[in-house]
């Protein structure tokens, strides 16, 4: 099954009843899948007139209590940012998928990781954060997608799934058996008609600066809770590693291929793969740096996550970087050469 289709099926099984989307490569197979599957399950599918309309339909469905999702790719994701900011301000759950492609501007349709900043720094206007999940395989989508819906409901906040064209188009065997029926959440904020109860209001317009400040601190405390409780990552051959690769998503798949080769040549290289890009797994990085390991950050961009690694290490540990922006997919052997070059350089440096 392709990553896009698996994502759609996982969303359905996680209780997504509303999907709104506007076509863009490389995530069209997801919209296509949802067009067929959502109506079958009694849900609502709308191909909207624009990305902006789609995200606002998500807002509407969410405020009415539905599990709602939209998806796009980089240029379309930029258009959705206003809506995501409103969702965050209104404290409404939603899942937004971004299958990143080469940019900036229209860019191209090849896989890229150049929207890291946009996803992890809020993306739209205002003081807000979104949880960002970066799955690395088609099978992992079956864990990440239900998790995204649960986190969105638990924190009442939009959650971003950050993939790329490669994850979306790639086919791998996939099993959905691990997906449990969706949990029930107490939704005492949704608008269902105020018959026999006091009326409710969901809004982000707060003219009173004091009120707005209080609201901001409330959101801030929520983001702190996320940072404490929701960090997720995977380690690979970390115990004896002298050089630790930090990579995510499909970039981590390519890096894993390279590391397997490096290990065959007895180079002690391991990996930390962040699954949540925000909140970022800073603690494990810092701990690993204390053991004297050096870091090698690999991204399919000119270098964005590398800033988070730098912040995580707080000046401790040496960081190497290798990036391929513009939608280029490096091969494992290319990465193998890059990592071993840095590995030997740093070893010489230590002597």
């Amino acid at each position: 099954m392709s990553g896009n289709a698996a994502l759609g099926e996982a969303a359905i099984l996680a209780g997504c009843t509303c999907y709104f989307g506007y076509p863009i490569t490389p995530q069209n197979e997801l919209t296509e899948y949802m067009a067929k599957r959502v109506p079958e399950t009694g849900g609502v599918f709308i191909q909207s007139e624009s990305e902006i309309a789609a995200i606002n339909m998500v807002l509407g469905a969410s405020v009415a209590g539905a599990r709602a999702m939209t998806s796009s790719s980089s240029p379309g994701m930029s258009l959705k940012q206003e809506g995501i900011s409103y969702l965050a301000a209104d404290e409404l759950p939603a899942v937004v998928v971004d299958m990143v492609r080469g940019g900036p501007g229209m860019g191209n349709i090849s896989p890229a990781q150049s929207d890291y900043f946009q996803a992890t720094r809020g993306g739209g206007h205002g003081d807000y954060k979104t949880i960002v999940l970066a799955p690395g395989s088609v099978q992992e989508l079956t864990e990440v997608v239900p998790l995204a819906f649960d986190l969105a409901d638990e924190y009442r906040n939009p959650v971003i799934i950050l993939g790329d064209g490669m994850l979306g188009q790639m086919m791998e065997p996939v099993s959905f058996e691990n997906i449990k029926p969706p949990k029930k959440y107490q939704k005492d904020y949704i608008l269902t008609g105020a018959k026999d109860r006091p009326s409710r209001m969901v809004r982000s317009l707060l003219f009173d600066t004091k009120e707005e400040e209080e609201h901001n601190w409330k959101l801030f405390r929520k983001y702190q809770r996320m940072e404490r409780n929701e960090v997720r990552y995977e380690t690979f051959l970390l115990d004896d590693a002298e050089m630790v690769v930090v990579a995510y998503g499909t970039g981590a798949r390519i890096a894993k291929g390279a590391i397997k080769r490096l290990r065959q040549e007895n180079l002690k290289v391991g990996m930390i793969r962040p699954i949540t890009l925000w909140p970022f797994p800073a603690k494990i990085m810092k701990e690993t740096a204390q053991n004297g390991a050096e870091f090698f950050v690999f991204e399919m961009s000119a270098g964005q996550m590398v800033e988070d690694v730098r912040l995580a290490l707080e000046g401790k540990g040496h960081i190497h970087f290798y990036g391929r922006p513009g939608g280029v997919i490096p091969t494992p052997i290319e990465l193998f050469r890059a990592i071993s070059r840095h590995y030997y350089q740093s070893r010489r440096g230590k002597k």
Partner: protein, 179 residues
Amino acid sequence: MTIKTIFSGFGGQGVLSMGFTLANAAMLEGKYVTYLPSYGVEVRGGTANCTVVVSDEEIASPVASEPEFVVAMNQPSFARFQSVLTSGGLICVNSSIVNTTSARGDIEVLAVPTSDLAEKMGTIKVANMIMLGAFLKASNIVAFDFMLNNLQEILGEGKAKMIKLNRQALEAGYTFVKE
């Protein structure tokens, strides 16, 4: 063991479906498998390719740097992908329309006049399945009998009417290499 194959040719030659068929068969055989198509701006007549990785263990990277096998259905694909083939690797070439002279001495070239064989069968459309039959004989990634016996499931419901023709095409390619 991890075996990587790149299928390549003109869009419309059935290059992606060749790779998809192999990936599906390997999955049903219980192997780990990834299928990575080139996508998007490719059009009929342009170039298309896909990478299939089949393994006994979890597959790290779906991107192949040095594939063990390449299938090239046209001249540009032959030129482009013979250079990435690992030393000792095998390239299966549609010799009906490709000049199979290679500058590399460390790879094996298997010339299959796929288009000619397909025309003999009455339709050029089965050229890809003939090539897949030949490829399976040469590579043995999936047991040929397994492929034939499970063809209905592998190709899916949409191709139900075409099972017989596809089977004949696979056998034609397989027999060509055997002889």
